[in-house]
Every structure is written in C-alpha cells, then in structure tokens.
C-alpha cells in the first residue's frame, strides 16, 4: 500500500487510542480533583498536565487551574494531546486515507468530529464528554474490527493503536503516585477499565502493589503494558515476517521486543519503588519505535525527486 496511506492509518490508530486514553484518565481524575481545595487543585492539575505532556513554560508558580486543565486535555482542538485535537487529527488522517478506510469507520470518525463542539465545557459537561468519547472511540474500533480485512492496512492501524495503548497505560500508571495525585488503586484500575478483571484475577489480594502489577505486567488483560507491547510486536511481525536465525532484525521490533521481555522476565520485590523507571523506559521505547516505524515504512524520499528551475 501507499506509504502515505499507511502513515495515515498508523496515526488514526494512535489518535483514536489517545483520545480514549485521555478521556479515561481525565474522567477518573476529575472526580477526585473537583473535591480538593483550590490550592491543591492547582498542584494536582499541574502534576497531571506534566504526566500528559501538556505542561507549559508559561504556567505560573501557582499552577494552572481547572479551566486550563480541561482546555488542554479535553477541549482545545489546536493541541495534538487534547481529546478534541486527537479526534480532529484522527478524522483528518481518515479524510486523507478515505478511499482505503471503510466508509463506516470514516463516517463514525467524521460524525464524532462534527459534534465534538456541541459539548458544555464545564466540569459536568466534561464528565459527559469523556463518557461520550469512550463510546465513540469504541464504536470506531468496533467498526474497524468488523469491516477491515486483516491486510497491511489493518496491521498499520493496529500497530498505531497498541503502541499508543502501551504509552497511555504507562501514563495512567504514572498517575498512581500517591503523593502527587492521591488516587486510590481502585480508581486507577477503573481508569483503565480493569477493575472487574483485576478483582477476578486477584480474588482477595487487593492493594496498590497488585494493581500496578496488573496494569504493567498482566499477560491476559489487553490494556496492560506487556499485552499492548506484545500486540505491537505481532503487528510488526505481520507487516514484515522476515525470519533470520540470528543477527539483524527490524529496528522497531528490537526496541519493542527488548522493552517487553525486560518487563515480562524482570523479577523484583519492590515494584512500587521501581515503577517510575519502568514507565520512563516504556515511554521512551514507544517513542523510539514510532520513529523507527516512520523511517522504515513512511519516509518519502524528501518531496519531489526533481526540482525544476524557478521561473
């Protein structure tokens, strides 16, 4: 398939997942945040924005308030990290790949974008907005799942989706920092939609240590970091099933494989203490893999191959 289209599909996958992940994080944190006194509210807002990569130089010492938080994470369409921005970017990419994306997928992305501005931008409106975004992204994923052939176009979409998923789960875990966020482990799990799955897997053994372990390492829960990385690997293999008995391998596969196996086979008694390093490594691996994928599959040989004389 065309490199340009492949790139669009990869980014549709990423942006849809990003909108979903951001909505989940915002939904859970807003509940807690809204109850805090305004000073603490500012501190926690600043922490949350830092985790989501939306902190700004210009933020004053007191920290950004709730309105800034909502604008930067949810409603500002100019930011690629906000929900609106992600939905806009996903829709724009789908528009550019419209002849490849199945019509139902394009239409659900387009409809979502068309009604994105109809929401109230206060706290109550944001709750509804987050729920709506989770539903819409699930619709998009479901339609893609049931209408797309499992060819390269599907693999690129999946690749982007799970790469973003690993990154998003890492960010969710980063907000488990007790001192910075005061988020209970139950809410952390709810954030990832993992609460019930966790309870069933762990029975009586509750506690934040187990919750982190579940979101980071569980092999069966799809949104855990290890599972997401495993699916990234599967998509990379499907795209380039080259097999060599030893030696060189695709760069992105190596990066993801190393990150995944380290987590999977690492033994520790102090997961809580090590968590921050793990998360940093995972996010770095995701970024590096994204660059490697871009270099391998999407790079155009720098615009036109021949430039005429200027008139």
């Amino acid at each position: 398939m065309l490199s340009r289209i492949a790139e669009s599909l990869f980014w549709i996958g990423r942006y849809v997942e990003r909108a979903d992940g951001t909505a989940r994080i915002l939904d859970v944190h807003l509940e807690r945040l809204n109850q805090l006194p305004s000073e603490e509210q500012r501190t926690v807002s600043a922490n949350l924005l830092a985790v989501m990569g939306a902190a700004e130089e210009s933020d004053d010492a007191a920290g950004p308030g709730l309105p800034q938080l909502l604008s930067r994470l949810a409603f500002d369409p100019a930011r690629p990290n906000s929900i609106c921005g992600s939905l806009a970017a996903a829709r724009e990419n789908a528009r550019r790949a419209r002849e490849t994306v199945p019509a139902p997928v394009w239409e659900s992305l387009n409809t979502t974008w068309n009604s994105v501005t109809t929401h109230r931008q206060d706290v109550v409106g944001t709750y509804r907005f987050c729920t709506w975004v989770m539903e819409r992204t699930a619709t998009v994923q479901g339609l893609a799942d049931s209408t797309m052939s499992r060819d390269d176009s599907w693999q690129f979409l999946t690749l982007g989706r799970h790469l973003e998923q690993a990154d998003m789960t890492a960010r969710m875990l980063a907000t488990s920092d007790e001192e910075a966020f005061r988020l209970s482990w139950a809410n952390l799990l709810r954030c990832a939609g993992a609460y019930e799955s966790f309870l069933r897997s762990r029975r009586a053994a509750f506690g934040d240590h187990y919750a982190m372990e579940f979101l980071l390492l569980d092999r069966l829960f799809p949104r855990s970091v290890v599972s997401a990385l495993r699916q990234v690997e599967a998509a990379l293999v499907a795209l380039d099933p080259e097999y060599t008995r030893s030696g060189t391998m695709d760069q992105s596969r190596r990066i993801i494989g190393q990150a995944r196996t380290f987590l999977e086979f690492h033994h520790t008694d102090d997961l809580v203490g090590e968590l921050e390093e793990h998360l940093e490594r995972v996010q770095a691996a995701c970024a590096a893999a994204s660059d490697a994928i871009t270099a391998k599959y999407f790079s155009h040989a720098a615009g036109q191959a021949w430039i005429g004389e200027q008139v």
């Binding site: 398939m1 065309l2 490199s3 340009r4 289209i5 492949a6 724009e92 528009r95 550019r96 419209r98 002849e99 490849t100 019509a103 394009w106 239409e107 387009n110 409809t111 068309n114 390269d152 690129f156 795209l239 599959y297 155009h300 040989a301 615009g303 036109q304 191959a305 021949w306 430039i307 005429g308 004389e309 200027q310 008139v311």
Partner: protein, 546 residues
C-alpha cells in the same frame, strides 16, 4: 394541507423560461406525474425535515464541497429533475457525437492539422489558444483516446430545446455528486421511486475503471491505475476519494509518484510499484514542473515525457484544453461536419466571435444585454452578465475586450429552463443546467444516464455554480413502464429466486447431519449416488417424496 405549489403559476410568469414540470398554462407535464403525486402528499414540515436529514447525512458522510475554506454539506434539492427516456437517448447521442468529433479534432491538432489545411479553421485560432500545448505535439494516445471523461454542459432555451453551453474535456468534475445524490434521494423521497423505471447511475465507476484499463500502454496485461489528486485542500477532493474508492485503486498525490527512465512508480510500504494509468485530476499547468509551471509542487516531474514515451497513460490527455476553448467552441458544429460528416445533434448557443469586426461592433453596442465569457475560463470564472453589471464593470469589460478580442466571446442572456425547487416555505421555479458525463474507452462513448443538474437557488439567478451559491438536483432518466424503450426491453425479466442446482461438493458426512435443516434444501431431492447408498438418507427422501 397547504399546497406547496400554490404560488407556482404566478412565479412562473416572472420569466420567459421553459418550465420542465408545468406547461405555460399551468398543466402538469406527464413525465412529472409520479413525482407530483408524491410531493402533493407531503406537508411543509415533512419536506423540510427530509431536506434537513439529507443535509445532515451528507455532512456526516463527508459529502461536502469547499466553500471559501469551509466544508459545507453538498446542497441537494429534494425535487428530482426528470428527463424522459426517449429525450435522453437523443441527448446521449448528441453528447457521444460531440465527444467523437472532439477526439478527432484533438488527434488532428496535435498531428497533421488537416482541418487547417482544408480551410475549416484558421491555424492562428488553434495556436493562440492558451491550452494548446506544443509539448504533446505528435503524441499518439493509446487506443486514440484523449477524452476519457468529459462533461459537456447543456442548457434548455425558452423553447425547451437543449443546447450545448460549453465543453469540458480537461478535468470535468461533479460525477461523484450524481452518485451521492441518487443515494440520498432514494432515502429522502423513497415514495417517488416506487414503480418508476429510473436508469441506474451505479455503473459509472466500473465503466470508468474499464475505460482506463483498456487505454493502458500497449503490452501491459494487468495495468495499475491510480487517481492523481492535488490533495485534500482541492475543492473536488471528495470526488477524488470517492472515485478511487469505488474503483478500488490508489488515490495518489504528486509526492507519492516518482519518474525514472520514463517510467512512473508509486512509493509503497513494499518499495516502488509501477503505475500504468494515471487518472489525472489536476490542471495540465501543474502536472509536470519539467514541462509546465516549474514552481508546481503538486505534480510529478517527468510524467509528460513518460507519457510521450508510451510508458504511462494520462487521462484525460495533456493538451485537451484547446478543444474546450470557448472560441473554438463556436466552430464545433463545423468540426462535427468536417470529421464525422454529420449534422450536430445538439445545437450550440448563438455566440459572437469578437475577433470578427462586425460582431465586435454589435457586441460593444449591446454589452449590457449580453453575457461575456473569457475563452479559457471554467466554473463561471470571469464571466460578466451584462444586465446585472454596473456601468463601471461594463466600462472595465469593454477595455479588456478591446485589448484582447481573442480572449472573449459573447452570448445572449439565456433564460435557462426552470424546475420546482424548495425555497423557504414552498416550491418555486429555479433555473437549472445539465452536465452529462461521458466515458470514452476507445470503442464507444458511454454516457451516464442523467448527469449532474445544478440549480441556482436565488430567485431569478442564472448562476448555478456551487461555488457561488448554487445547489443540485438528482436527475432521473425515466422510461415509461411497458413502453418500447430500449432500456426497458433489454432488462432481464425478474423471476422468483431459486437455489441453483449444483453438484454437491461437501463430504457426505456433513450433509447427513441435521435433517430438519436439510428439509429446506431442494437439492436434497436429487441426492448424489454416494448418498443413495446410505440407507438412512434414502428413507428420509422416500418420506419427503410422498
């Protein structure tokens, strides 16, 4: 129920235009009987709700056009425009004739120029056309096709006669809206479809792909076709995605293509892939910075040379613009007679050639009564309607025309025919034109039944371009039921659907499974010999035969 047609006869009096639904004395024309019946049964709120749903659906499905940088829902009026089958066959023949003549003309223009030698057209007329491209002189088009796709604009005059307003043989657009309008109206006005024999438009993408594949360079068995778009900001981008999608081919931008050694490749995730046919949706000027505008970033350097070398087909061919030059348009009847030896089936609109001194003099005296058009414009660009222009505009126009008489033509102001259209709170007559689309695959010219009807939404306005507030109508070519129409008799008669009797292919163990389900299966009656030997099955068959 309020009569939505109550004010119609009075509104019809405002102009001398031919109304396609009602005769001048207010009687309903027979072709519209069915639609009239349906519209009469609807209330205003109902009609408005339907119109709103159609617009909403267009917006959500991304059926939009670019209006000053804004994405707007494609404006579709709820009242379809109807053309009788026999009438259409006449139009269709006229369009095909015109395309055939223009093909021969282009072949000649970029070849031996026999038409000049024989004194039908002056050489200067051709060489002074802005779109006569010497870069493709002597170029032989594969299968002799240069006008793969054409959109020839027609209008109806006061008497209801169809006339050709202009030829579009470069990059005619709008066909995607024909396909989308039909889908939308099928949901918006389903009652009108019941019992009507409307010729289908669905065939278009298949016909187009087949014509593009047929005209691939010689020796290519399984040609790769691509649609070349200027990109997402082009006002017709929606059409490009729709056509590429419906043909199942890649939609490429200039930067996706690369020329090497007179061959064209596209950049894919699996390396470079050879391209054989390019359905080009950008202007010649931007196609190849090596030949035309060197500053174009939309094009593909070297693609024209590749086409000249016969390694890739560009559709429509480069240089076609000379055939839709509006001054050359005035000679098309002679062109038809010269190449085909036939009289034109559809007449032109009377046109003044401003290079001729007497004509120019007359036009200068009557500037405020005429329409003046630049010869190389399309989409209504640069056009001046005399009666609607200010004195200032007319003075400026006079100066421009006198400076460059070759660059302009003049035509009388035509009262385009009218069709009822939803305005505010009732149906009112609005002026329409018609753009039929034709595909030439080298063997025959096929004309899409109906084409695109554009409608001026303002009362009295004659400007139908969507970029200037025009709307559109679904256009139906309707055959009379039981009539002797070609289309109707050719249709396959309906029959009750039955299961085909085919040889059994599944192993017998699978068939033996649940008898209840098998009982539905007619095939069970003629069991294959293998099953005959199974006593259990034979018993069941015995029972069922009783």
């Amino acid at each position: 129920m309020a009569d939505l047609f109550a004010g119609y006869p009075q509104a019809m009096q405002h102009s001398s235009a031919y109304d396609e639904m009602f005769t001048p004395d207010g009687a309903l024309r027979a072709d519209y009987a069915q639609v009239d019946q349906v519209l009469q049964s609807l209330s205003l709120t109902d009609v408005q709700a339907r119109a709103e749903t159609m617009a909403r659906t267009f917006l959500d499905r991304g059926v939009t056009f670019d209006f000053a940088g804004d994405e707007r829902a494609w404006p579709l009026d709820i009242v379809p425009r109807i053309l009788a089958g026999a009438q259409w066959d006449h139009i269709s023949a006229g369009v095909a004739q015109r395309v055939a003549a223009l093909e021969a003309f282009l072949h000649d223009v970029y070849g031996r120029m026999e038409i000049v030698r024989d004194g039908v057209l002056p050489r200067s007329l051709i060489t002074s056309s802005a779109h006569f491209h010497r870069q493709v002189h002597g170029f032989e088009a594969p299968r002799g096709v240069r006008i793969h796709v054409s959109g020839i604009d027609l209008v109806r005059d006061d008497a209801g006669t169809f006339r050709v307003l202009e030829d579009n043989v470069r990059v005619p657009s709008g066909v995607s809206y024909v396909l989308e309008n039909r889908r939308a109206i099928a949901k918006g006005l389903p009652e009108a479809f019941t019992g009507s024999q409307i010729r289908s438009v669905e065939e278009y993408p298949r016909r187009l792909l087949s014509a593009l594949r047929r005209t691939a360079p010689e020796g290519v068995d399984d040609p790769t076709v691509v649609v070349l778009t200027p990109g997402v900001y082009n006002s017709a981008y929606f059409e490009h995605t729709l056509l590429a999608g419906m043909m199942g081919v890649e939609l490429v931008e200039g930067r996706d293509l690369i020329c090497r050694g007179d061959r064209v490749y596209m950049r894919t995730t699996e390396g470079e892939q050879r391209v054989d046919v390019i359905y080009k949706r950008l202007d010649d000027e931007f196609l190849d910075p090596l030949q035309f505008r060197a500053d174009s970033m939309l094009g593909v350097p070297g693609v024209v040379n590749a086409a000249r070398a016969g390694q890739v087909t560009i559709a429509n061919a480069v240089g076609n613009g000379v055939a839709d030059d509006k001054l050359i348009y005035t000679y098309v009847p002679e062109i038809i007679r010269y190449y085909l030896g036939e009289d034109p089936i559809i007449p032109n609109v009377d046109t003044y050639r401003l290079q001729e001194p007497e004509a120019r003099e007359e036009v200068m005296d009557r500037l405020d009564e005429l329409v003046l058009k630049p010869v190389d414009g399309s989409g209504g660009k640069g056009l001046v309607i005399g009666p609607a222009a200010t004195g200032e505009e007319l003075r400026a126009l006079r100066k421009k025309v006198l400076a460059d008489p070759r660059g302009w033509i003049a035509q009388p102001v035509l009262q385009l025919s009218t069709v009822p259209t939803l305005a505010e709170s009732s149906f009112a007559p609005r002026h329409v034109d018609l753009r039929p689309f034709a595909i030439n695959d080298g063997e025959q010219v096929w004309v899409l039944p109906g084409g695109l009807t554009r409608v001026a939404l303002q009362e009295g306005s004659l400007v139908v371009n969507s970029s200037q507030g025009g709307g559109s109508k679904d256009t139906w070519v309707v055959d009379q039921p039981g009539g002797s129409d070609r289309q109707a008799s050719a249709a396959v008669p309906w029959s009750t659907r039955r299961r085909r009797r085919a040889q059994r292919v599944w192993p017998s163990a699978v068939h033996a499974a649940p008898p209840a389900a098998a009982a539905h299966d007619e095939q069970q009656q003629q069991a294959a010999p293998v099953q005959r030997s199974r006593p259990g099955l034979e018993e069941r068959e015995g029972e069922r035969r009783c």
